[in-house]
Amino acid sequence: MSIREAFDAWAQEGKDRGMEERHWHTAKHALARMPIEEGDTVLDLGTGSGYALRALRERSIARGYGLDAAPEMVANARSYTEDDAIAFLRSDFQALPFAENSIDHAFSMEAIYYAEDPVEVLSELRRVLSPGGTVYCAVDYYEENVHSHEWQEYIEIPMTRWSREEYREAFREAGLYVAEQDNIPDREVEIPPADAFPTESFETREAMIERYHTYGTLLTVGVAP
């Protein structure tokens, strides 16, 4: 199955907005940490509904580019904003259509692991970032988060499941410095009382708490030399 087939269906079912709502719980904390200055140009890799760029525009970035391979995703993202400073384009993570040193900072939430070769994506980011530019790479799907492992069953795109350490290694392999790694807890998801378990997704309340409060979202921050 192609990225397009998989994610166009999601966009049509409104899953883009659903992801926005759920991912926002932790994505907003990652975005808040970015060392954005007025006038910066920011890239959002696998932009989905484009919420990250809409949020960063409130911090006066000059331009936000949202990149996504799925046409229905970018079409939806485009329809959610009237802001001329935000533009969307269809493109693949591994072949970025940007010149060297053209981007100040890059953000990516729950997207990089869908790439065929995520190290190549990081290398491409390094190429397009200005020296000192950051990559804010956030994922809920990773090795330590055992609760995410089954996600692969629900999508036909092969997903890369790295550990925290493998993320650091991959960043370094792509020539990025690793500045930070952190688990951002999701404290907004509602966790039902113990007697509601087992639920469809969790055997026990403890498991659900571990999923959202302990593992949350893994953020790895890289810096281009």
Binding site: T41, A75, L89, R90, S91, D92, P97, F98
Partner: protein, 63 residues
Amino acid sequence: MNEELMDIVCCPVDKAELELSVESRDDGEIVAGSLTCTECGTVYPIEDGIPNLLPPDMRETSA
């Protein structure tokens, strides 16, 4: 698509400059047109205001 994108956009394959050709505009925004690589000649379409900069081989498999 906003014309400012031309400042930083390039061919996804060989990273060479692109040449813009506009078919229609709406309020300044480019709604339809194309971007042609000055090096390899690949033509990237702009449809509904969105440039499709997928490399040609991915365009096929995902079309």
